[in-house]
């Protein structure tokens, strides 16, 4: 049953980066050449050209009917891989074996011409993507219906709204019938309803018609819904190939940027009367924290240096991995003056206990700010702590879709304490 349609063996793609600020003109090349010649004659060092491997030693096999997601951070080599697979550029090393007709969709609406009407562009774009005229004519009505642009078929697409443009473009591509479909990030366009429709179409194509789909996206929920397997690229190398859930976890781990210390995330406001000298959470200064159980509370400790008298309270935010805020805790706002401290110049130690709500397994971010409630933000720590939560369950998902502010997230009463350090 497992019949490989794509076999990639130790694929590499190298780009040469010129460090001289060269515009490629003939004159530059000539002067460069002459200079290089002189340099070689006088036996000085060779011209500086840096190699950059966008892909290095990538090997994998994909079987018929699989929907494979390719994920990785920006610059990991995803797009280069797709470009090589769709034959836009040649690999520097290695080999690829493709079985069946390949259609690649590296961009929505490639080759659309603004002056041409929707009808004309369907034919043009179809031909560019590799459809024959007869094939386009056969599917024409279906394409138009899917894109919902019947009324504007004879209007030049330069007058289309960007949504209509994208719908038409995707619709043409969705009606290709290749054995292998390569798709890059095209779902990041269009409104939510149309995105859903596109995803549905892609899933349907792969499931019912036994096609193979390669799919690059940053949209993890789309990847999760569509894909049967994941390839994870980082810095041009294939670091993981396997199940979706595991791949996503690994991807989110590589997404975490670890500068090391939580303190380094400090962003002081201009003219702030205080700054933070040390920050620890549960006694650790790192900006990453693994929590086996979220029922633990977090002990936050800061060493503050105050340069002018000020009134200070602590705010905390909990966000999901993508930075969408889930919860906010600010006793200074809620309980008034009880949690706002008047600080005199000098050093002070802040201690707070933070209760976390019950969290599903996954990755979260904690953000802190030192504020004067309602009036000023002195210092903030965006994405100060990356929380990896094992949680009680093993399901992957987001907890707070209905309840933006769960009751569990709060500072324990009476636990924001600030006292002078002698």
């Amino acid at each position: 049953m497992a019949e490989p349609v794509i076999t990639v063996e130790s694929l590499g793609k190298r780009y040469l980066l010129d460090h001289a600020p060269s515009h490629d003109t003939l004159r530059d090349t000539l002067t460069h050449g002459v200079r290089g010649l002189v340099r070689r004659l006088t036996r000085r060092e060779a011209a500086v050209r840096e190699e950059f491997w966008a892909l290095r030693d990538v090997s994998f096999t994909i079987n018929r009917g699989e929907v494979v997601g390719i994920i990785g951070r920006n610059g990991a080599g995803k797009s280069t891989l797709l470009k090589v697979l769709s034959r836009v550029t040649e690999p520097t090393t290695g080999r690829i074996r493709l079985r069946g007709r390949v259609a690649s969709l590296l961009e929505v609406g490639t080759g659309f011409h603004p002056e041409l009407s929707g009808r004309e562009n369907i034919f043009l774009n179809g031909a560019i993507l590799g459809m024959s005229r007869a094939e386009i004519r056969r599917k024409f009505d279906e394409i138009v219906a899917f894109a919902e642009v019947e009324r504007f078929l004879d209007t030049p697409v330069k007058h289309y709204s960007s949504g209509m443009y994208v719908r038409l473009a995707f619709s043409v591509a969705a009606h290709l019938e290749p054995e292998i479909l390569i798709v890059d990030e095209v779902l990041a366009v269009g409104d939510a309803a149309f995105q859903k429709k596109c995803l549905g179409k892609m899933g349907e194509v792969a499931r019912s018609e036994g096609r193979t789909v390669l799919f690059v996206s940053h949209n993890t929920s789309a990847v999760q819904n569509l894909c049967t397997r994941l390839l994870l690229l980082s810095n041009g190398e294939l670091t993981f190939a396997g199940g979706v859930a595991e791949g996503l976890l690994r991807y989110l781990d590589t997404g975490v940027h670890t500068s090391g210390r939580a303190l380094d995330h400090q962003v002081p406001a201009a003219g702030a009367p205080l700054r933070c000298l040390a920050l620890t959470v549960n006694g650790r200064a790192e900006d990453q924290l693994d929590l086996p159980d979220t029922r633990d509370s977090l002990a936050i400790e800061m060493l503050l240096e105050v340069t002018a008298p000020c009134r200070v309270s602590l705010e905390s935010f909990l966000s999901d991995h993508y930075g969408s805020r889930l919860a906010f805790a600010s006793p200074g706002h809620e309980a008034g003056n009880a949690h706002v401290h008047d600080l005199a110049p000098g050093r002070h130690r802040l201690r707070a206990q933070l209760m976390l709500p019950q969290l599903l397994r996954g990755h979260y971010q904690l953000e802190f700010a030192l504020v004067q409630p309602f009036l000023a933000k002195f210092v903030s720590f965006p994405a100060a702590i990356q929380l990896s939560v094992d949680g009680t369950g093993t399901t992957w998902g987001r907890l707070f879709e209905q309840a933006p502010s769960p009751p569990g997230f709060q500072l324990l009463h009476g636990t924001v304490a600030i006292e002078p350090v002698t």
Binding site: Y15, L26, R27, E90, G94, G111, E115
Partner: protein, 270 residues
């Protein structure tokens, strides 16, 4: 199927598979060209018509060049028979050499044999050529000077002109991808070329230079056109034709070689 540094054996097969794309690209360029113009396709006639008047005036009236077997009143026919292939060559060459760069968005996003792009530029030039051909027929009707049986060889010379444009165009378009300088070089070449080719005058006016002159591949094409269209008023100059064929073949072969060699890095450089 895809291997590093190996020329694709399926290339020519692919080129055939993508022949419809060639048609579509040419069709797109034709459709788009005269959008938002008032005169529309009349532009295709207007430019050669004005060139015809100017050349007739300068070479025929001012310089009083011999009309090569025709009467002086028929000088426009001589010019037009030269202008026809020259326009074909000039249009084909200039659009072919700009073709890759103006289709950057396709080159960097979709695979197809890149040769399709300059070839489609040739197709567009050929359509223009047919339109200008109507102008020539108009002149024929005016002087009641219809071509005889020799016109049957005209397609061969048209092909020769196209191949010369393709050969040079392949070089220039591949070089333009890398060096945008060639965008400035091409119009200049064509501007000079119109005087270095016997467009406004007959080759028989330059007997002593004729051999050297023949290294311009368009000389053979224009002479051929005049032979076909003007009842052989312009006799064949066999060494010239052979040289022209040789130069065209050399351009074409080397152009293809260079194009194929650089083609696989187009997407990285463009």
């Amino acid at each position: 199927m895809l291997e590093a540094g190996r020329a694709d054996v399926h290339y020519w097969h692919d080129l055939w598979r993508y022949r419809e794309l060639l048609g579509f690209l040419a069709w797109r360029d034709i459709m788009v060209r005269y959008k938002q113009t008032v005169l529309g396709a009349a532009w295709a006639l207007l430019q050669p018509a004005i060139t015809l008047v100017v050349f007739t005036f300068v070479f025929g009236r001012l310089a009083k060049m011999p009309a090569g077997g025709l009467t002086p009143e028929q000088y426009p026919l001589l010019v037009m028979a030269g202008l026809l292939p020259w326009q074909l060559f000039a249009n084909a060459l200039s659009s072919a050499s700009g073709s890759l760069v103006s289709n950057t968005h396709l080159i960097s996003k979709v695979y197809f044999p890149r040769l399709v792009v300059p070839l489609s530029a040739l197709a567009v030039a050929l359509i223009d050529f047919l339109i200008v051909g109507l102008l020539y027929l108009g002149l024929c009707a005016w002087w009641s000077f219809w071509p005889d049986w020799r016109v049957l060889l005209l397609p061969l010379f048209t092909l020769l002109g196209l191949l010369a444009a393709l050969g040079a165009g392949l070089w220039l378009t591949a070089l333009t991808v890398r060096f945008r300088d060639f965008r400035f070089i091409v119009p200049f070449l064509l501007q000079v070329g119109v005087f270095l080719s016997p467009v406004g005058f007959s080759t028989s006016n330059v007997p002593s230079w004729r051999f050297l002159f023949s290294f311009n591949p368009m000389v053979a094409v224009i002479d051929g056109f005049r032979w076909c269209l003007l009842h052989g008023a312009q006799p064949f100059y066999v060494p010239g034709l052979l040289i022209g064929l040789g130069v065209t073949a050399a351009l074409l072969v080397s152009g293809l070689w260079y194009f194929r060699r650089t083609e696989r890095s187009f997407a990285d450089v463009i």
